[in-house]
């Protein structure tokens, strides 16, 4: 079974492709949705196309499905139109799938299940990464604010941190917001950063 993965994100395509290979599928092709990707797909003649639901290029792909004679059999989206639970899970996960008409449901379902799991796992990974990035950026901001306090008020580091924390608690704001305000004010006043 030939599976094409149309995806902008190289990382997500890798995550999905690896999963499919582990599950024993070996005819897998990743196609970024840029330029003449529709022509590439036509030549490839896949049985299943997996695509990010959020991709703006879905309309281009569907137009191909309408006009192309290169695909011998019409392609229908999803496996079984009556399987609403699976379709709901796919849409939630951001997976859209196009399957050559006539492929048996039991052959396609495991692929779609796997794609849904991998897309969800990728989304969680992405969220964790974003969180880690934000945490790192926040810590740098707080460090800069502490440095300003230490220099201008001659405080030790723990005292500078305590000053920030109590200001934040008094104003009902986050420490990083107070730190940002302090950095802005300090630069406006021509102070050091």
């Amino acid at each position: 079974m030939r599976i094409a993965i149309v995806d902008d994100s190289g990382l997500r395509a890798t995550v999905l492709g690896d999963g499919l290979r582990e599950a024993g599928y070996d005819d897998i092709h990743v196609v970024p949705p840029r330029g003449a990707f529709v022509a590439i797909l036509e030549r490839m003649a896949p049985d299943v196309v997996l695509m990010d639901l959020g991709s703006p290029s879905r309309d281009s792909l569907e137009e191909m499905l309408v006009v192309s004679r290169a695909l011998a059999r019409p392609i229908a989206m999803f496996v079984d139109q009556s399987d609403d639970a699976m379709i709901g899970a796919a849409i939630d996960a951001g997976v859209s799938a196009y399957v050559v008409d006539g492929l048996r449901k039991e052959r396609v379902k495991p692929i779609l299940d796997l794609a849904i799991r991998r897309f969800n796992a990728f989304a969680r990974m992405q969220a964790d990464l974003d969180e880690a990035r934000t945490a790192l950026a926040d810590r740098k901001t707080v460090d800069r604010a502490k440095a300003i306090l230490m220099k201008t008020r001659g405080l030790q580091e723990p005292e500078a941190y305590a000053a920030l924390r109590s200001a934040a608690m008094n104003q009902g704001r986050k420490i990083v917001d107070v730190a940002e305000a302090l950095i802005t004010a300090s630069s406006l006043l021509g102070g050091i950063e």
């Binding site: 330029g35 639901l53 959020g54 991709s55 703006p56 290029s57 879905r58 309309d59 281009s60 792909l61 569907e62 137009e63 499905l65 309408v66 229908a76 989206m77 139109q81 609403d84 379709i87 709901g88 849409i91 939630d92 859209s96």
Partner: protein
């Protein structure tokens, strides 16, 4: 608060939905309006058809095509409310535009001559011009076909039509993958602002009151939830009036500018709102009155005759089989009955009829209403042809007589 989710695409004509949420019109009606941004029409359709949203901002011909089972997912849709009238433009790369009338204002002023010039420019071009359209079933694509056919151009034979999402058009043009595109604003204005294209035609000069986006529901959901529909439509009508008011255009542009909505600068959004359109990079704007209507002239009323005009064009271009049952199903997508019911207490003038001859008005005219005064603006097609919804067959015969060989 009753939660209602609506899918939309980042386009200027999603304004009514955004204003309904941000200016409190939805809240006043007891609705918690959740707007789900999507970047392709296929995704908006899937979310609607599979019930992840209750309604969607949708190309009017797409709502009809989905109902007639022409796309990937057949489902009976219902459009009881139009979100706007007009609002799109054709932008061509500067080198292609150079083969047209040198005065860009003249191109818009005389669409008959411009279509013939365009036909000539196709012959002069180094290859078959590639024109980006947003969807096979988009109002703009149908209008482009209609306009060029008057000059003997058959879009399927003489052009390469390429489907691209609106937000990728400008990049594709810059990369030379397409020679021009027809799309909803702000994208044509963005291409002009970037200095790579000229606006050579406006939808409002091809059909003065062209049908554009609708609010689409699944018909079964709409029938099962009249209470929500009867709250939502009046809220949208109030939002539409707010969007039409010139005094609010700056505030509206500031809303649309936000990244969660259209995400383009106010400078790029304002031309469509004000009708002051820059046609060529570096030049001053010209006035294109009625470039985009949100509410005035009962713009939101879903005339069944307009659904039938779309059907006639789908038949003309071989996209659907003809037949009285199919014709009836197409007309039934536009639910003027639901509009009447939901807006009965709104005080808005209510057209007396649900069908009219499209393209018959050359000047503003007062029309019969059940309540209040309603003046419809001129709605002519640029070729002067009128569409009688009671004689689709005769209309199609007349169109077939135009030679595109």
């Amino acid at each position: 608060m009753i939660p209602v989710s609506v899918a939309f695409l980042p386009l200027t004509d999603s304004a009514v939905l955004i204003a309904a949420r941000e200016k409190g019109f939805a809240t006043d009606a007891g609705l918690a309006l959740d707007l789900v941004r999507t970047t392709s029409w296929a995704t908006a359709r899937d979310r609607l058809v599979y019930g992840q949203v209750q309604a969607a901002h949708m190309l009017a011909p797409l709502a009809i095509a989905v109902t007639l089972g022409l796309g990937q997912h057949p489902a009976t849709l219902a459009a009881p409310f139009k979100l706007n009238v007009n609002g799109n433009a054709l932008a061509m790369a500067s080198d292609f535009a150079a083969a047209l009338d040198p005065d860009p204002a003249q191109r818009l002023a005389d669409p008959v001559a411009a279509a013939h010039d365009f036909a000539g420019a196709i012959g002069l071009h180094r290859r078959k011009p590639v024109i980006g359209i947003v969807h096979r079933f988009s109002s703009h694509a149908l209008m482009l076909r209609y306009w060029l056919a008057s000059a003997g151009v058959n879009a399927d034979r003489d052009l390469s039509l390429r489907v691209l999402p609106p937000s990728l058009m400008v990049e594709a043009l810059r990369a030379g993958e397409i020679d021009g595109f027809i799309a909803g604003e702000p994208w044509s204005s963005v291409a002009v602002a970037d200095g790579i294209a000229e606006i050579v035609a406006a939808g409002s000069r091809i059909w003065q009151r062209g049908v554009e986006k609708v609010l689409a529901f699944r018909a079964d959901w709409m029938e099962a939830h009249p209470d929500i529909v009867d709250r939502l439509l009046p809220a949208l009508a109030r939002a539409a009036a707010w969007c039409d008011d010139a005094a609010n255009h700056d505030a509206l542009a500031a809303l649309l500018e936000r990244p969660e909505y259209v995400g383009r600068s106010a400078a790029e959004l304002m031309p469509a709102l004000t009708g002051r359109i820059v046609l060529r990079p570096g030049e001053g704007p010209i006035d294109v009155p009625d470039f985009l209507l949100f509410q005035r002239e009962a713009a939101n009323f879903p005339w069944r005759s307009q659904a039938l005009w779309i059907y006639s064009q789908l038949v003309r271009w071989g996209m659907v089989k003809t037949g009285p049952q199919i014709e009836r199903r197409a007309a039934d997508v536009f639910r003027s009955d639901v509009y009447r019911r939901a807006l009965a207490g709104s005080g808005l003038p209510m057209p007396g009829a649900s069908m009219k001859v499209e393209g018959a008005l050359s000047s503003p005219m007062s029309v019969g209403t059940h309540k209040g005064a309603l003046t419809l603006g001129p709605d002519r097609f640029f070729d002067g042809r009128a569409f009688d919804p009671n004689d689709v067959t005769g209309y199609l015969k007349g169109l077939a007589a135009i030679s595109t060989d």
